[in-house]
């Protein structure tokens, strides 16, 4: 045990003391945050102020039209299509909408906007929305529905409230937040498995390439070396991860502060990254307090506990497989790539199942995925986000935990056998059949 700790300590320190560690740990979330902020900024503040002329020959607008922020609608009179075209060419306007006198408010004809240059998707959407809002209002008024009546129809307060059999309310916010939480945690574990699993593999390969393996094996058992590596790198992962979470969370919450009018501008934006969706939800549903309340409906201690368990369990399971692969490979990194493939397949598969599981946590595929040890770390997180027993029943959770533990014990045992033979073997790359023989041979 002591030797495993010695090895683990070296693995940990040698990685944590490198400058790259600090760089990736702190810089990366910062970069992601900046990137994110820029996307939001650009998506919201897109486009120059557009000057659109509206020739209302049918007089449906009744002489008034309000402009939106970067869209200037101007009513013009006594213009023909030709004169408008000329005006367009002279850059007097950016575009025009010609409403012919034959146009009927309640009809099915569409209107055409002629413009100088191509108009981008975002702007088009804005124009559509703005103009259609105007038309809609006019139509409703024509049908004698007042604005107040309109509002009362559209009252969100009458929406269906969901509740589950257990009696707890299952409101939309919770479902939405569960979706996000499940998705994010599943994805996080996916990333972790890849990053740290391959770190383990590269560490093992380093020992082979630098030829130090034999010297170390004369002092410690191969199993101790392997476990020390896995533990040490796992610790690095844990530390790096905690720092990331703190940073990313903190920075995300800062978003609404930095862009306070963001929320107002966002109504009607067609493309909505998750953060904006959340911000939208905040606006729709009465601010942060509502969100906080639905957050509190989610069993965070459970989710965090499970996250830690599945993070560790999944890491242990996959890193031992990565260690085995690393030990079989020689100097050629391409061998490593091809051997890695069968190991990464289940992880990718798990992500696919997860995308279904976030929506339907009790579907057959989701249940299977959350129990099978190779996929459970990712899929179970998606189910857990919906809580017990809504997303997953208690016995299923326990079964999944037990299976995962059995899983990583099995893969560690298997990997240790392959590792102890592979680490000292130089020469041609072993085939899967050979590796299997190492695994089952008595030591």
């Amino acid at each position: 045990m002591n030797k495993i700790l010695l090895v683990a300590r070296r693995e940990f320190l040698s990685r944590v003391q490198k400058k790259t560690f600090l760089l990736t740990t702190i810089l990366l979330p910062l970069l992601i945050f900046v990137f994110y902020a820029l996307i939001i900024y650009f998506s919201v503040k897109s486009g120059d102020n557009l000057h659109i002329a509206v020739a209302d020959e049918a007089n449906i607008l009744d002489g008034n039209i309000h402009s939106k922020e970067d869209m200037n609608f101007e009513l013009v009179k006594n213009q023909t299509a030709e004169s408008l075209n000329t005006a367009l060419e002279n850059k007097k306007y950016d575009g025009y909408i010609f409403i012919p006198s034959t146009y009927e408010l309640m009809g099915k004809d569409s209107l055409q906007l002629k413009s100088n240059k191509a108009i981008g998707i975002m702007t088009r959407e804005k124009i559509q929305k703005s103009f259609n809002d105007i038309l809609e209002e006019k139509r409703l008024l024509a049908l004698h529905i007042s604005k107040a009546q309109l509002d009362s129809i559209q009252n969100n307060a009458n929406r269906i409230k969901f509740a589950t059999v257990s009696g707890k309310t299952d409101d939309d916010n919770k479902a939405g937040v569960s979706y996000i939480v499940g998705y994010i945690s599943g994805f996080l574990i996916y990333i972790i498995l890849f990053i740290y699993g391959s770190m383990v593999m590269r560490g093992v390969m380093e020992e082979k390439v630098s030829r130090i393996a034999e010297v170390i094996i004369s002092s410690v058992k191969p199993f101790q070396l392997m476990m020390g590596k896995i533990t040490g790198i796992g610790a690095v992962g844990l530390v790096q991860f905690i720092i990331w979470i703190v940073l990313v969370f903190g920075l995300q919450l800062l978003l609404p502060l930095i862009f306070p009018d963001l929320l107002n501008q966002m109504h009607g934006q067609p493309i909505q990254p998750a953060g904006i969706q959340a911000a939208q939800a905040i606006k729709d549903n009465g601010g942060m307090t509502e969100i906080m309340r639905s957050f509190s409906q989610i069993n965070f201690p459970l989710i965090i506990g499970c996250f830690i368990f599945y993070f560790l369990g999944g890491y242990l399971l996959y890193s031992s497989l990565f260690a085995a692969v690393g030990s079989a490979v020689n100097e050629d990194p391409q061998d490593a790539q091809s051997l890695m493939l069968p190991i990464t397949m289940p992880i990718i598969f798990a992500i696919v199942i997860m995308t279904k599981a976030v929506n339907e946590p009790n579907s057959g595929l989701a249940v299977f995925g959350s129990l099978f040890p190779l996929t459970s770390p990712i899929v179970m997180m998606a189910r857990i986000a919906h809580g017990i027993p809504d997303g997953v029943s208690l016995w299923e959770l326990i079964l999944s935990i037990v299976l995962l533990i059995a899983g990583f014990i099995a893969t560690t045992w298997l990997a240790a056998k392959i590792y102890r033979t592979g680490i000292l073997m130089y020469g041609k790359k072993p085939t899967w059949k050979e590796m299997w023989k190492w695994a089952v041979r008595k030591s």
Binding site: L6, V7, S210, R211, V215, I216, S218, V220
Partner: protein
């Protein structure tokens, strides 16, 4: 118990060949022992069984009078494998400390010993450098230090001089002598016969998994001697024919002769003295280990004699 190591009928078979096929020998404490053999003879496999990296399929290893216990005896053994290497990006001081701690030394003990050896081999300025900053000779020296730092009772060196220039090779050689004098036993595995002759007390030659020679260097040379002598005379004698010897070679005044069965060197000397010729030099030509090695190993399949040390 006089022996640091005893191997009894060790066997290690791989799927394709018998790497070690029933090998037994003993190594006395404090000796400098040579393990020789051509490539593929089974030397490395043998050494890995002695260090506990491999487990024998049959037979046993007795270390210091007791059955070999890889875990606990690791601290008493130092092993420098032929395929050498250290962590390239790790700082040297840290790395030596790490390896010493893996052997079972406490941090303070290890630091003390590191200071001692670094000073002795003029490596004090290396502490914070990385292994990748060192030249080949320097890293060999470093690896040697990591091997002997914990003052092991048994030191195993597999081709320790490969890649070393004469100055560094000499340095290591002196250290080996010193360690031996201080009570450590040293196993040397090499193809370099001239070094073996120079340094080793006792040797074992293995080939194709079997032991084919086992004895002290002088005994073995005696066994393989061909009764060849070299005589340097002041002038060429009138009569150089004698029943007692066969003239093999003549270069000016120096004669290489083979003394025949039943005759002694004294007879040869007397032959020249009787002619009143001044003898300037006279010595026996013992076969070099190199020659013995080639003789035994060439045409290999028919040779599997076991020789016992003649005392």
């Amino acid at each position: 118990m006089n022996n640091i190591l005893e191997l009894h009928h060790l066997k290690k078979y791989y799927a394709t060949q018998k790497a070690v096929d029933d090998i037994s020998f003993e190594i006395k404490k404090g000796s400098i022992f040579g393990l020789l053999g051509p490539n593929g003879a089974g030397k490395t496999t043998l050494l890995r069984m002695i260090t506990g990296i491999f487990f024998p399929d049959d037979g046993e290893v007795i270390f210091d009078g007791k059955k070999f216990d890889p875990l606990n005896d690791a601290v008493k053994i130092g092993y420098m494998p032929e395929e050498r290497g250290l962590y390239k990006k790790m700082k040297i001081g840290e790395q030596v400390l790490y390896l010493a701690q893996l052997k079972g030394l406490s941090k303070s003990e290890a630091l003390e010993k590191i200071k001692f050896w670094f000073k002795r081999l003029e490596m004090e300025t290396w502490w914070n450098k990385k292994v990748e900053d060192l030249s080949k000779g320097m890293s060999q020296k470093l690896q040697f230090v990591t091997t002997v730092l914990h003052e092991p009772r048994l030191i195993i060196l597999d081709e320790p001089f490969s890649g070393l220039d004469p100055v560094n090779a000499n340095l290591i050689k002196d250290e080996i002598y010193g360690l031996s004098q201080r009570g450590s036993t040293i196993i040397f595995s090499t193809h370099r016969m001239e070094q073996v002759e120079e340094i080793c007390d006792h040797i074992v030659l293995v080939n194709l998994g079997k032991k084919i020679l086992d004895g002290t260097v002088s005994d073995i040379k005696q066994q393989f001697k061909k009764n060849k002598f070299r005589v340097s005379l002041k002038e060429v004698p009138a009569n150089i024919h004698f029943d007692g010897f066969e003239l093999l070679e003549q270069q000016a005044n120096t004669f290489t002769v083979k003394i025949k069965e039943g005759f002694r060197s004294n007879d040869l000397i007397r032959f020249f003295l009787n002619q009143d010729i001044t003898i300037e030099a006279f010595n026996e030509i013992l076969p070099s280990l190199n020659d013995i090695f080639i003789e035994l190993v060439e045409g290999t399949t028919s040779v599997s004699r076991k020789f016992q040390a003649v005392h």
